[in-house]
């Protein structure tokens, strides 16, 4: 037995030396270089060691950044700015986002991970957002291949109740009208790029920016990574900031477009929706998506998967995981991954300002289109729709529906619009997923 083991070890040792010899003969030039660099290590005096170390500190890196040789001379000044003041400005922006998230309660679940990711991404020397830094790895793992937004969509599906939409199907049209924010802004963005020198967005970039008007964070990220990954950071930040600002952006538009009488319209109570209907609905929507627009099925499929698990009622554990653990874990990674795109040299560009402006335009146009659509629907015979629920057609579940409810209660304390507004709200999610599918199919 002993001799066998000894023989085994000998054989192992032989093969190991053989393979390592082969490897070293293959990588001979490389290893020689490495050895050379090893040999270059000279014993230094403690003073030079200290001064060398000081050169690697953040203070020096921020005050006097190294310029790599492959940067052309006219760009050196810009590069230096991004590496020094740019990072400091980004720290300021990140602190602003912290403040918005913590003190103002603006979508803290996503803004905090995004902002902290942005802070980490702007650290000099460490290169955390680089291809081998952990933020870069997170980005590669789940954002560049659009995995994380899809997982978020599953969780959102598990949290969604289609009951209000099923009991009043025609409100789905409001969710469709609000998508005008996307396409209207798309035209605006390309018009500005074509006829002015302010921006110079391509069609792909314009599409990725205007999807902010869908008011759906995961969809925005999904489309941005597909069509314009270089703009991802700004688009995601704009999208989530505006979603958080729904209670500020929407009410003035809603009030401006409606009369006092319209705001007081009462809607009849919603009928009961049977469990069977709720169970069949996700499958029906997915079937329609398959027939109409297979390009939208990654988003709609994931959404309906989550919803189907919930409505089936037999996989409570999976449903619970989707709604809580999985979506929370993914939110952390999604936020950090998006934050990795907040590096100064990518974020502090004129385009970002354009994205922020176009984003809020898209949002406002979507809100207005939803309200106007409700007014158009009231021109037809049938039960009247309170136009205030039209604004909920932009997705932003459930914030937009809550805003409709709140504005409605301002005019009539007894007018509860929340459940009525949930109908267009969830239809808006489907609508923006369809709009995203259209954009994807165009650029295929």
């Amino acid at each position: 037995m002993k001799s066998f083991i000894i023989k085994l070890f000998m054989a192992l040792a032989l093969t190991l030396t053989a393979t390592s010899a082969m490897a070293s003969s293959h990588e001979a030039p490389l290893t020689q270089q490495q050895q050379a660099s090893d040999k270059n290590y000279e014993s230094k005096s403690i003073l030079t060691m200290v001064s060398d170390f000081l050169k690697t500190t953040g203070v020096v890196a921020l005050a006097n950044p190294d310029v790599p040789k492959n940067i052309s001379k006219d760009k050196v000044a810009m590069y230096k700015f991004h590496q020094s003041w740019g990072r400091i400005i980004m720290f300021g922006i990140v602190f602003l986002l912290f403040w918005l998230a913590i003190a103002k309660g603006f979508e803290p679940l996503l803004l905090l991970p995004i902002a902290f990711g942005g802070l980490l991404a702007n650290i000099p020397v460490a290169d955390i957002a680089g291809p081998h830094g952990f933020l870069g790895v997170i980005y590669q793992a789940g954002l560049s291949n659009e995995l994380f937004p899809i997982i978020i969509f599953m969780g959102v599906g598990a949290m969604t109740d289609f009951g209000p939409l099923l009991s009043n199907p025609k409100t789905a049209l409001l969710g469709g009208a609000a998508q005008f924010g996307i396409f209207g802004t798309l035209v605006g963005a390309v018009a500005l790029s074509q006829y002015t020198d302010i921006f110079n967005f391509t069609l792909q970039q314009s599409s990725a920016i205007s999807i902010i008007g869908g008011a759906d964070g995961p969809t925005s990220i999904f489309i941005a990574t597909k069509l314009a990954p270089e703009l991802l950071g700004a688009i995601a930040v704009a999208s989530y900031s505006y979603m958080a600002m729904v209670p500020i952006i929407q009410p003035p538009i809603m009030k401006a477009l409606t009369t006092d009488k319209e705001r007081r319209i009462k809607m009849s109570t919603l009928r009961h929706v049977s469990r069977m209907e709720k169970l069949v609905f996700p499958v029906v929507v997915l079937m329609l998506a398959i027939l109409f627009l297979p390009d939208s099925t990654p988003l709609i499929g994931a959404f309906m998967f989550g919803n189907f698990l919930k409505e089936s009622g037999v996989v409570e554990r999976l449903n619970d995981t989707l709604q809580n653990a999985l979506i929370n874990i993914t939110t952390i990674f999604l936020g950090l991954g998006v934050g990795s795109k907040l590096e100064a040299d990518k974020f502090l560009v004129p385009d970002t300002l354009g994205i922020l402006v176009l984003g809020i335009v898209a949002f406002s146009v979507g809100t207005a289109a939803g309200v106007l659509m409700a007014k158009v629907m009231n021109l037809f015979p049938g039960t009247k729709v309170n136009p205030l629920i039209g604004s909920a057609g932009v997705s932003a579940v459930p914030m937009a529906a809550r805003v409709s409810n709140k504005v409605g209660m301002e005019y009539d304390r007894t007018n509860m619009l929340l459940m009525h507004a949930m109908g267009p709200n969830v239809a808006g999610v489907i609508g923006s997923a369809v709009a995203a599918g259209v954009l994807i199919s165009i650029f295929k």
Binding site: G176, Q179, V280, V284, F292, V434, A435, V438
Partner: protein
Amino acid sequence: METNLVVEGLKFMVLGMGIVFAFLGVLILVMNVMSKLIHKYFPEPDPTQAPVVVKGGEDKKKVVAAIFAAIMEDKKSQL
């Protein structure tokens, strides 16, 4: 740059809004058909039972009497 981007954008808009509305329009139709079919072939027991309870509620005295009788019956059995 021969293509006019604005015209392209307008085309996107017509196509996009058209498909969104067509999808949701069909969805509305399907939802209506679906709920009719489901109510016809898979009626839920709950809505039919609920009105019975409500109707009973109209005649409060009878209900009170019945509950009273039931409680008394229960007490008797406990004794």
